[in-house]
Amino acid sequence: MLKILIVEDEKPISDLIVMNLTRAGYKCTALYDGESAADMLETNNFDLILLDIMLPKINGYELMEYIRPMNIPVIFITAKASLDDRIKGLTSGAEDYLVKPFEIVELLARINIVLRRYNKTESILTFKDITVDTENHIVKKGDTAVSLTPKEFELLVVFIRNKNITLFRDRLYELVWPELIYSDELSETRTLDLHIQRLRKKLDLKNDLKTIYNAGYRLTE
């Protein structure tokens, strides 16, 4: 299980992140100030750190200096959205920079990207008898290989990574068809539904890949 340290002094936000990351299968440790985070890092190892910048006692930038030699990827989570702050955040050695307010799916996606960059995610995803080799783009159901188009493949990966989470239509478009987000036909397009049908048919997911009325789809385990 991958271990994530969350250093965030706003209890509601911290609880929110912990709640969602735990559901996504990470082991979370939440701390509320920079000093205790530094203490914690001395004795424990983590795979990723989510770090707020405005922290009591030791702020995020200062803590970053401390973390840098440890080779632990850091994602800054902050309300500071100015370009200067972003640049400062990224040049200080952080892997990514997430500005409040953010959405949970986005946080999960960013975490995934960073972990993949550090080769900490497994390249083989499984769902029931389906295995997905994200490195080589191979999908197997049982022992038989199933051929998927690139978009079908991406969509499948998104669903498996966000098991038991309702993915809203707009969110799915954002993740799989980012090029369509700003086009006018988004509301009328049937692309998503077509791909869902194809996935259900090819992988026999009729009962698992559920339609949530007026919202989107969910892959239920």
Binding site: D9, E10, K11, P12, I13, D15, L16, M19, N20, R23, Y32, D33, M54, P56, A79, K80, A81, K100, P101, F102, E103, I104, V105, N164, I165, T166, L167, F168, A215, R218
Partner: protein, 478 residues
């Protein structure tokens, strides 16, 4: 055109005109004088010639036989050679006929003899071939005829003298004009230099260097103008600084505001999103809903206080007399329930006194302060709220025995969104606006707020109002 050039040109024109007029008068006078001298000399010469000739003629006439024409010629010759200067000529007419001429081809001007009368001499000045002559004619009767003794004197020297005078004067004028130009230029340069300096400073000022000041010293008009300019610059700079300060504060406010609003928004959106996307168990659902509610409340509280802040900044306050005792008791009634729910006791005591202000706004202030005291205190602690008359002031005191405020935070606690301990303040529902609102309200009431605090000992807020004048305190607002 530059001012100094204007001064220069006007002065030069004036000086030239004066030099011209003076020159004309002087030259004219000296010419006239020289001419008079010449005429006088010529007349004297003529008189001398006349006297000599007449004297010589007397002896001739008295002799029995004589040839007047011949005698005249010889006498004239003697006179001419003996007593006349080289530049003069002598012509003798007898009864209109020329009997002697020291030089040939002398043409006697026509008017010369016609006007000659008995014992009166006549003169005419003529110019022949660039030479100036003065002709003098005298008249006397000899025998039966009329003898005209005409002397011609060359006064071309006069012309040369005039010419030389003019030349001299011209050179002199040129020297005067040149040196005057130089002097006037230098003078006007130094006179207008301060103006130019002031101009440079004004220019720099206009282009945004608001700290530029003119350094001209003295008591003349330019120095006065410079002083006035500096005064103006001071006030402009102050205003611009104030404006910049205001813009900076506003930017800071907006930045703080967006920052503050982001946390509850992230929580609300995040929990709502989690709830709609996943199946949470009952505990988690309750926690999420609780957070959505409390963060929503925080946003509401923040927006209310912000509204009050904006309202206060742009509106006048309707001040009415307030009895301190009833006001204090009113507040005690409002805060008592929250304090007792936290197991904190409230000690209160109010002296009689009347202050003025907007009762509702002032209530907000003290409820806020007491609520802050509650947040700083731990269970079982107490809060003191009292009012005393001190001279012409009425002083309210709110004292707690809680966590206290560190000195570095004291100066900033009234800033908008400033929180000494963010997580602690949030937990107790603060938005960082209470004290800034309170200090603004007090400021609008001309009330003075003093804060004394020692960490881990407690904090005391002292707020003093000017007492309401007793004699017109009849329409008291109870």
């Amino acid at each position: 055109m530059k001012f100094r050039y204007k001064v220069l040109i006007i002065n030069m024109l004036l000086l030239s005109a004066v030099l011209l007029a003076v020159g004309y008068v002087i030259l004219k006078r000296s010419y006239d004088l020289a001419l008079d001298t010449q005429i006088e000399n010529a007349v004297l010469e003529n008189n001398l010639a006349e006297a000599s000739i007449e004297y010589s003629l007397l002896s001739v006439i008295n002799s029995p036989r004589y040839n007047l024409d011949r005698e005249l010629d010889s006498i004239s010759g003697q006179v001419y050679a003996g007593m006349m200067s080289d530049t003069s000529d002598l012509i003798i007419l007898y009864s209109g006929n020329q009997v002697f001429s020291s030089e040939e081809n002398i043409i006697i001007p026509d008017d010369l003899i016609l006007q000659v009368d008995n014992n009166i001499k006549n003169y005419i000045i003529t110019e022949e071939d660039g030479r100036l002559f003065i002709y003098i004619a005298s008249f006397c009767k000899i025998d039966k005829g009329i003898l005209n003794i005409i002397t011609r004197r060359d006064i071309t020297g006069l012309k040369r003298f005039v010419k030389k005078s003019i030349n001299d004067y011209r050179s002199l004028s040129l020297i005067i004009l040149t040196s005057a130009t130089l002097i006037i230029y230098i003078i006007s340069y130094f006179l207008t230099r301060p103006l130019e300096k002031l101009n440079d400073v004004t220019d720099a000022f206009a282009r945004g260097s608001y700290s530029k000041r003119s350094s001209i010293k003295g008591h003349d008009e330019v120095a006065l103008l410079s002083d006035k300019f500096n005064q103006m610059a001071d006030s402009v700079e102050t205003h611009i600084d104030e404006l910049n300060d205001m813009i900076k504060r506003r930017d800071q406010f907006v930045a703080d505001f967006t920052h503050e609003i982001k946390t509850p928004m992230t929580a609300i959106i995040g929990y709502a999103d989690t709830m709609r996307s996943t199946d949470l168990d009952e505990d988690q659902q309750l926690m999420a809903l609780n957070y959505i509610f409390s963060e929503g409340k925080r946003l509401e509280d923040m927006s209310m206080k912000l509204f009050d802040l904006i309202y206060l900044k742009s509106n006048t306050i309707d001040k009415k007399p307030i009895s301190a005792v009833s006001f204090g008791n009113d507040i005690v009634n409002s805060v008592d329930p929250i304090l007792s729910s936290d197991d904190i006791s409230l000690k209160y005591e109010f002296e009689q006194g009347i202050i003025t202000g907007d009762r509702e706004l002032l209530k907000t202030v003290f409820i806020n302060l007491i609520d802050n005291a509650r947040k700083a205190s731990s269970k079982g602690s107490r809060v003191i709220f009292k009012g005393d008359k001190k001279g012409e002031f009425y002083c309210f005191t709110v004292q707690d025995f809680g966590v206290g405020i560190e000195e570095k935070d004291l100066s900033r606690i009234c800033d908008e969104f400033y929180m000494v301990d963010k997580s602690r303040s949030r937990k107790k529902g603060g938005a960082g606006l209470g004290l800034s609102l309170a200090s603004l309200i007090l400021n609008r009431h001309d009330a003075d707020m003093k804060i004394e605090s020692t960490p881990n000992v407690g904090t005391t807020f002292k707020i003093s109002f000017k007492l309401y004048e007793e004699d017109n305190g009849k329409n008291m607002n109870e």
